[in-house]
Assembly symmetry: C2
Homo-oligomer: 410 residues x 2
């Protein structure tokens, strides 16, 4: 019987777990002091809900859960909806929208949500990419103004700074700008989605690669050329030459300029027209945080004003920003090793088979009161070896019950 | 489109979430200061692993995940293993055993593990019983002596005391005692498992109900009578009259007497021969915590010395104790309402459409430095109404940017 974790997932060992718990608490603390409130939803959602979302490529990576309690019609024609009625969530945004609609009467307006939890995508397993991974999201529901975007960027940046990141870059773009420019280049409105999927690969395959892909998909080469010229020459300063949409331009400029003031010298904020974000549900500003030489984003988000409208008669404005916890952890462990914040930890050894365990425990409690983590261990016959084996661990020292009054250093 | 959480699960709202986070941290703190280390495993495990475990009734309540990446053979004869290759974990003990085997080279010996996470069982939905629920487990792997049981009971009891429980009862029994008495009454060794399943219903259907059930299952009425006499008259003091197994009796007596000393007047520890615990994997001492008038246990555990042997050549001794987080929360909210530990929280109002949001945020930060949670809110036209709407919330007061120097109370 194999003892490996299932494909694409992994076990988290004590040293990493300690770092993860510390980081999660630090992030949570920043979110909380900024007035956000934590909520939680189940990892499973109705499959129809997941499939009906605009989750983009993620819908191809759903884990679905077999129906229970009814006889399945097992024929070769059976679809996933015949077999399954639930799926594991692929993000925290769709569940939040459902949550908001389900509980809106009792929630503050605007509602500022914190969600920290795992999401699931059947990605092709590769280094640093897992099929179960943690996200730390904040969202503001009910604020149609760019104040919401600014507050999310400010709070997310503070969380990243709090856990030791510095010099990261927030890239900002606007879905409406993308849509307008794609159409202005000569593509039809229907094509915007698929064009965006290709543009999204810019980081990996470059301008030439995206050009090739669009042409191979049968798009007009003239339109492709125009779009690529735009991609490579558009800037925040010359935006008005490219697009006639003063409202979108103002939103973009206000957000970037305000966040620049907040950034001081701690991080950058830039306009990046090649920024796409995979999800189909975004409707306005979109943003991503990149850091140093690390390829993929460490955080991302955007405005999704139409998603809650799936449940409600009227649409409800909403924006979110999500920190990719696994990437954060990978980078921090890469850069800083697994240096855990110091704790005072000692071992309290005792004779095995002792009839005095209650007294041993009481002595442990006395040291705990002094602020120590105390681990009880029965002494082995080869005590010298046992001490040596624990020397390189997390302990600063040890005591032997009935023998030592003070902690001995290793 | 329905916005309800999937059947048998629920959304957790901000007020409850705050309590949950506080309790979880308090429990974690007790576990940690007692030398336990937190680990994490994925919520999904290989289906064969789950089905091959001795999970008792829980195996009938598995959520299974459809295979991906291969063409399914959809015929009426297809079994769940033909359709699915993973399932959601139904407890944290099986994953821990797999984890230990997978990572044992890097783990301390004995390994003292903390796990806090959700498990999944397709229970018939009812009040207070969910299909996704949190457990807080500690386990000691590698200690064959009852010191492990005593340490787990001590630590779990301290965690329960830390979060405000008092006067609970730890019930203790021993699987070997159960097995011996069942056989001594005249049942075959093979029948022990099914007899235990019936005995486990004692709480709900009483001695008469269990008697009826055993007889209706075709068991010898003489044997059933003998067993029921034992169940109703056996005590820790007369154990030796019932069973000739000095080792088992000594283990039981040592644990109960030592924990009695540790309990002082804070909680009780008693021998309870009708305690079964559903899982088939227990091999030695088993225990459960009951509290006040609440029917079901708030914590439970036992020794499972053979489970890790599924992966290893030799079996590895192991004991675990799990707190049922949802029950704890239900009881605390029942008894104490949703009284959250006080935090200093204020609202910082600002004129909407402000071009001074960076300054507003800076003022918010200044108050955060003084220890406040600061929630930014754009002022509405009917400001008086807006203030009134937030009066009953979590805020002690508010400030208006550019107008107030000090916090105004509601």
């Amino acid at each position: 019987m194999s003892s490996k974790a299932v494909r694409g997932t992994r076990d988290i060992l004590p040293d990493e777990m300690k770092i993860r718990d510390q980081l999660e608490q630090q992030i949570l603390e920043v979110y909380r002091t900024h007035g956000f409130s934590r909520i939680e939803t189940p990892v499973m959602e109705n499959l129809e809900l997941l499939l009906g979302s605009e989750g983009g490529e993620n819908l191809k990576m759903l884990f679905t859960i077999l129906k229970r309690g009814e006889k399945l019609e097992l024929t070769p024609e059976a679809s996933v909806l015949d077999l399954c009625d639930m799926g594991l969530r692929f993000d925290l945004t769709l569940p939040l929208s459902r949550f908001y609609s389900n509980n809106k009467e009792t929630l503050e307006g605007p509602f500022k949500a914190i969600q920290i939890g795992n999401v699931f995508r059947a990605e092709r397993p590769q280094k640093g990419r897992y099929r179960s991974f943690k996200q730390c999201d904040i969202d503001i529901i009910g604020d149609p103004t760019v104040n919401a975007e600014i507050e999310l960027m400010d709070t997310t940046a503070k969380a990243l700074l709090a856990i030791g990141f510095k010099g990261f870059t927030i890239k900002v773009n606007h879905r409406k700008l993308l849509g307008a420019m794609i159409q202005k280049s000569g593509f039809s409105a229907d094509a915007v989605g698929t064009i965006c999927i290709s543009l999204d690969k810019m980081d990996k395959i470059g301008v030439a690669g995206v050009t090739r892909e669009l042409i191979s998909k049968g798009h007009d080469s003239n339109a492709v050329d125009k779009l690529m010229t735009c991609v490579t020459t558009i800037t925040l300063e010359n935006l008005e030459q490219w697009v006639e949409d003063p409202e979108t331009i103002e939103a973009l400029v206000t957000v970037i300029n305000t966040v620049k003031v907040l950034a001081k010298n701690n991080f950058e904020v830039v306009f990046d027209f090649s920024l796409i974000r995979g999800m189909g549900y975004y409707t306005g500003l979109i943003f991503e945080v990149s850091y140093g030489p690390y390829g993929s984003a460490i955080a991302g988000g955007g405005r999704y004003d139409n998603m809650i409208g799936r449940y409600e008669k009227t649409s409800v404005p909403a924006v979110g920003f999500s920190i990719g916890f696994e990437r954060i952890i990978n980078i921090l462990m890469d850069e800083k090793g697994d240096a855990v914040q110091d704790e005072k930890a000692v071992i309290l050894f005792y004779e095995p088979q002792t009839d005095k365990l209650a007294e041993v425990i009481a002595l442990g409690d006395a040291w705990r009161k002094k602020g120590y983590v105390v681990n009880l261990m029965a002494m082995k016959k080869k005590f010298g070896k046992q001490i040596a084996a624990n020397d390189k661990g997390r302990y600063q020292g040890f005591l032997v019950f009935g023998r030592d009054e003070e902690i001995k250093n290793f």
